[in-house]
Symmetry: C2
Subunit: 205 residues, 2 copies
DNA sequence: GTCTATAACCGGATAGAC
DNA sequence: GTCTATCCGGTTATAGAC
């Protein structure tokens, strides 16, 4: 058999613990100092292990960062998907907006990390997705399903543009919150839903 | 007198040319490969000069990047301000949105560079501005002046939030354009103005 | 003014002791 | 599994020749 390569097979052990430990340290480090400053030595120091240990559990520095970014992204998607799934389709877009903002406000370090991840990706010419598959495609999907049920399609008639605009507002609200933690993100979420003309789950009582 | 320090005093000569040459090369480099990849040697190579030359005209690598970022920002502000100034106050917000998107669409490299500049700044904990002075403060100003003249204040009643949301949409539209140059930014600008419920200069004919 | 050469440093990654 | 030691490459910045 080939040599043991951690991460590819069943991690059956404290391996998972070490990996989690390193990943969490990396997330905090990136959130605090940025992608570029998250060097191997700093990651190791933050996690309380040696450089060699980090490269034993992961393949390279890039692999550590990728794993960290995948992790925060997976958590975000899981959270949002759970709330969107058991919601009336006509209200799914509003739920999406609230869930997104709530999660990122609750985990500022994750928000900052995702910000850095996106920019690092934009830097190294990475056309990771074929044209059309933009970051807000899932949201566009929800908008499409919502407007097909309720007749008077609100907001911009172009679904892609609607998703892009709503997504941009979400980003902006989260960014503002990161700079000013006193900013009322719940009110901002309400404002987004209002300008988009969407059904608001919190309206009916 | 003290030694001559370029940039601080009258640049009286081909100094300005060299500086401009280096700055432009830096802008393209950052746009293409990102902030982190814009090393001194790469900047020098891109500008067609030696490393020493770069550090002669600027103090350090960071100074070069700062100068480049200041430059693209100054151009953007100049362009937008010119269009906003000779516009009816009630339509200033719409003009701002269009000017911003038009300029950044016309100069994608500048848009990418500003993106990288922002992220690099977010990384090194740089509270460059006291709380409240957000990036969209000028826009908030325009919105305030516009709504004080026309009675039925459109969009979110909170001016700060209105500016943040509109700004976020501008960012999102530009980002989308960078990924898909076929994206219709003029239509997107119209959509932004529509959802905000603003007076549109292109409406009356 | 511009360049070459060099100093001092820090980055990632490997080898191997324990 | 985890660590230390080491190597190599690339980085900024300086010194000084031209």
């Amino acid at each position: 058999m080939a040599a043991y390569t951690p991460g590819t097979d069943a991690p059956t052990r404290i391996e998972r613990l070490r990996r989690a430990q390193i990943i969490n340290a990396t997330i905090d480090l990136v959130a605090a100092r940025g992608h570029a400053a998250a060097s191997l030595s700093r990651i190791a120091a933050a996690a309380g292990v040696a450089k060699g240990t980090v490269i034993y559990h992961f393949v390279s520095r890039d692999a550590v960062l990728d794993a960290a970014y995948d992790h925060v992204l997976a958590l975000l998607i899981e959270q949002v998907a759970a709330q969107v799934e058991d919601a009336d389709p006509s209200r799914a877009p509003a739920v999406y907006v609230r869930a997104m903002i709530a999660h990122l406000s609750a985990h500022p370090a994750h928000a900052r990390t995702l910000e850095q991840a996106g920019l690092a990706a934009a830097a190294s010419g990475e056309p990771s997705r074929p044209p059309g598959r933009s970051r807000w495609e899932p949201l566009a999907q929800l908008i499409g399903e919502a407007t097909s049920s309720s007749d008077p399609a609100p907001g911009p008639s172009d679904i892609r543009t609607a998703a892009i605009l709503a997504g941009g507002m979400i980003d902006a609200v989260v960014r503002e919150f990161l700079e000013d933690p006193a900013y009322d993100t719940a009110a901002a979420a309400r404002a987004i839903i209002a300008v988009m003309g969407w059904d608001d789950p919190e309206d009916d009582r």
